[in-house]
């Protein structure tokens, strides 16, 4: 509520709004005048299961009333999948919560109607509403997989859902129905006997889908069901969701911010911005001919493998190279073993650092890429082998050497929400290390440097620096972390999934900021990610990690543009593209679980090298 509008969001849209599109009657201004849509209606079969008319939601705050949703009108038909897309704060989740009548106090529906299969949801009594939830409309909230009850078996949680709505049922029937529900999401009935901690993230998310579908609701609302999952698991879960929905024949609302994911999963798309529906229609129509500049901006923000660069580096000038007496970073047969699990098999490489390079390390969660990052940062010590930074082993360094190492090796971490101490204004995060490393001459110098770096990453220092972290958006915080790294001018930066928790529309901006660090300020970067499309654009060299081993490595054009190893191919195929006709999550892709043996046996593929980086292959 107190979140200020991002100053960056608006400007980006204007930049990309260059192409004048045929502005058909697609934009709902909320007056209700445009309610009778012409074209797409014919293609929509099935009766509407959900009808929203001029829905408005207000949140009163001390600063005045915030209109989270403004006069939203749309239909969801049986058997259709509708996507709600927009950046955070656009009212996607609020609309879903309004349908569920689960708005957090003091938010409330201030106007309009919500009609679910002929029933006015706003007029239902509290008890009728309770019965309607899950049995008629199911909501799978964001991060639902972490809200499974840890002390109950999965099947008991499914049974709870049944008995809360239909009263007591005998055990045999409960058992049959929970097994059926698990089967419909591709899980073995045995899974039901397990506790949530025994399941992987993807399995937990599937259990949540099973929980949502078990009473065969007419409408399912899935709020970013794959936001915490890597690309491969994302594809599997989306496939499950689509199949389960098709089986039940219900309507589906998919909430998300990734245009690529939407394109591959939904039939119709509703684009929301600041609580208003800016565009609504068939997905093919919107992708082929977006009517609103904001939609165009969302589409163009999706990085494509092989497409033209989505980065807009602010300078084409290469930073001047400098001869170093010793290579910047050397891994000498470094490995890490946790108990029986080998997180990282012996790995040797040398990063010269004479000319700054971006080295991408890609892989699924559990592939060992974060362990690698943590070893570089010195937070994890290798089980065997040696890490040398500028020729010196960190573990033999003294206190001064350690402080110097800290200054020279910095990081941008995954979660921008956790990176700021909520007690301090955000400037603390920038000023403290600057002072600590003895880079500051006086307070005025710190202030001047802070303002400088904020401007470099495109933030207004007067607007951002005096604030508390919770008053800034995720994108702003992540850019501040990039600004912090820039202010310290390290020699090496570890960027661990820097954009995975940021809105898709801001990813390009943040990656451009990071790219600038290399280009303009000569900082070498280790970019750790599961997203091959961004790695394709930013990196000079890519290493694909699979179960702690480098299975393919080389320049991104070859490794990602034309993958040889089956695992790399699987990763590339799992990227959602803004192209509804591309097979994704259908039967076309191989089921990765069944394919593990095949993947593990495939020969490693080393695809050439770049100057200044050398991977020792044996």
């Amino acid at each position: 509520m107190t979140e200020p509008g991002h100053p960056d969001g608006g400007s980006r849209i204007h930049e990309t709004a260059g192409v004048p599109g045929t502005t058909a009657e697609t934009v709902h201004t909320g007056s209700g005048r445009n309610r009778g849509r012409g074209g797409p209606v014919d293609s929509m079969t099935g009766r509407p299961v959900l009808t929203l008319r001029e829905l408005s939601v207000d949140f009163p705050t001390p600063q005045g009333v915030v209109q989270a949703v403004r006069k939203l009108s749309l239909d969801v038909r049986l058997g259709r999948r509708v996507g709600f897309v927009g950046e955070s704060g656009s009212g996607k989740t609020t609309t879903a919560l309004a349908i569920m009548r689960m708005l957090a106090d003091p938010g409330h529906v201030s106007g309009g109607t919500i009609d679910l299969g002929g029933v006015d949801m706003l007029k239902l009594s509290e008890e009728d509403m309770r019965l309607a939830r899950l049995s008629r409309v199911a909501y799978i909230p964001q991060g639902a997989m972490n809200s499974l009850n840890p002390v109950m078996r999965v099947e008991q949680q499914l049974w709870d859902a049944i008995s809360a709505h239909e009263g007591r049922r005998n055990r045999k029937e409960l058992m049959r129905r929970s097994d059926e529900a698990l089967d419909s999401v591709g899980l073995h009935p045995r899974t039901g006997r397990l506790h949530p901690h025994e399941l992987s993230g993807g399995m937990k998310q599937r259990v949540c889908i099973a929980l949502g579908m078990i009473l065969r609701p007419e409408l399912i609302i899935a709020d970013e069901p794959t936001s915490a999952l890597d690309v491969v698991t994302q594809r599997q879960v989306m496939q499950t969701l689509r199949e389960a929905q098709a089986l039940a024949g219900s309507g589906l609302i998919l909430i998300g911010h990734d245009m690529g994911l939407m394109a591959q999963s939904v039939d119709e798309l509703a684009v929301l911005r600041q609580g208003e529906l800016v565009e609504y229609g068939d997905i093919r129509r919107i992708l082929g001919n977006p009517g609103h500049p904001y939609t165009r901006a969302l589409i163009s923000s999706v990085p494509l493998v092989g497409g033209k660069s989505f980065l807009r580096p602010s300078s084409a000038r290469e930073a001047p190279g400098s001869r170093r007496p010793a290579p910047l970073l050397t891994f000498d047969r470094v490995s890490k073993v946790y108990g029986k699990l080998t997180a990282l098999h012996p790995l040797s490489f040398t990063l010269r650092g004479d000319v700054p390079k971006i080295i991408s390390i890609v892989g699924q969660s559990g592939s060992g890429k974060s362990t690698l990052g943590s070893i570089v940062l010195g937070f994890t010590h290798p089980t065997a082998g040696a890490v040398r930074f500028e020729g010196r082993d960190l573990r033999r360094a003294g206190a001064a050497g350690k402080l110097g190492f800290r200054r020279d090796v910095q990081a941008v971490l995954q979660d921008p929400y956790a990176c700021f101490n909520p007690f301090y204004r955000v400037r603390h995060a920038l000023a403290y290390p600057y002072r600590r490393f003895g880079l500051a001459r006086d307070e005025a110098h710190i202030r001047q440097r802070m303002e400088e770096v904020c401007r470099t990453v495109g933030l207004d220092p007067d607007l951002v620096l005096p604030r508390y972290p919770h008053q800034l958006s995720g994108g702003q915080r992540q850019r501040l972390i990039v600004a912090r790294a820039l202010m310290l001018s390290p020699k090496l930066l570890v960027a661990d999934e820097p954009v995975s928790m940021v809105d898709a529309s801001l990813r390009a901006t943040i990656l451009s900021n990071i790219y600038d660090l290399k280009d303009r300020f000569g900082i070498s970067i280790l970019y750790i990610t599961h997203d091959l499309a961004t790695a394709y654009h930013v990196s000079d060299y890519v290493m694909v990690l699979y179960r702690g081993r480098v299975v393919e490595a080389g320049p991104p054009g070859q490794v990602i543009g034309n993958p040889e190893h089956p695992y790399t191919r699987l990763l590339v195929d799992s990227i959602p593209w803004p192209d509804p006709d591309r097979p994704w999550g259908g039967s076309a892709g191989p089921e990765p679980a069944a394919d593990h043996a095949h993947v593990a046996d495939a020969p490693f593929a080393y695809r050439g090298s770049v100057e200044g980086f050398e991977l020792v292959t044996r």
Partner: protein, 304 residues
Amino acid sequence: MTGVTTRAARRRMRRFDNPWTNPKLFCGAGLLLAIVALGLLGRLLWDLDLVFTGSAPLKLPPIGFENLRGQPGVPAHPIGTDGSGRDMLALIAIGAPNTLFVGFLASLIGMGAGIVLGFTAGFVGGRTDDTIRVLSDVMITIPPLLILVVFQSAFGDVSLTIMALLIAGFAWQSPTRLIRAQVLSMKQSGYVMMARLSGAPTHHIMFREMLPNLVPYLFGSFIANVTTSIVTAVGLEVLGLGPQRIPTLGRTIYDAISAGALIQNLWWWWGIPTVLLAVMFIGLLLVNLGLDEISNPRLRRLGR
């Protein structure tokens, strides 16, 4: 309908803006300050020598009442006297602040130990953590009154400070556990990671990054601890243990009970200290509730 809730909600929000306008905190602090003021004003305006035995007529009622012998209250002793000729006003003017003092001192010492032990356990880990954790877990299972009764009867007469120290010996376990748990979860948080990346020394991470975020918990836990410490102290005093020569509210209740004040209908003797204790507990509860409401940093506004 919505209009009403909206306005109520907005009013509720505005209340959060300034912590010092929070009515609960305000009332609670007021009640506690009133007790402190009673002690201070008593020392200035009243003759405190009247706490000595036999300095006044016995068993006089407060003004406007009569005792069983038909004696009316007199202005010289406005809220009556007790069974050994001590003035009640002088008694509570000294006793009430004393009781509060024992509670605060015990809690302060307990919290101090809790902060040090909790941070050590959470930060150092390993054997140190095991030792501290087992120690505090074992201590939590021992009923404090049992041990204190044994201690106090062995010591005989004790001073208020000794008493506070003894109670503090049972007031450090729960803060230790609470802080240890918080430190363990905070150690993994992004901002501690960032501080380590900034080359921050351990004491900076502990006291500048972590501790400020614990302040709401510490305050809440401190006030709750004061309440338990006072309950323990009064419990001991009512049993006739604790300081013998220094007036406290619990001691006064003990005297009243052992002199048969209930049978003789000397209600002011035991009633006034009881009411004061109730006021103290209500004050502490309100402060705790008020702190709960305002300690959420998300409700903090953009400051100057």
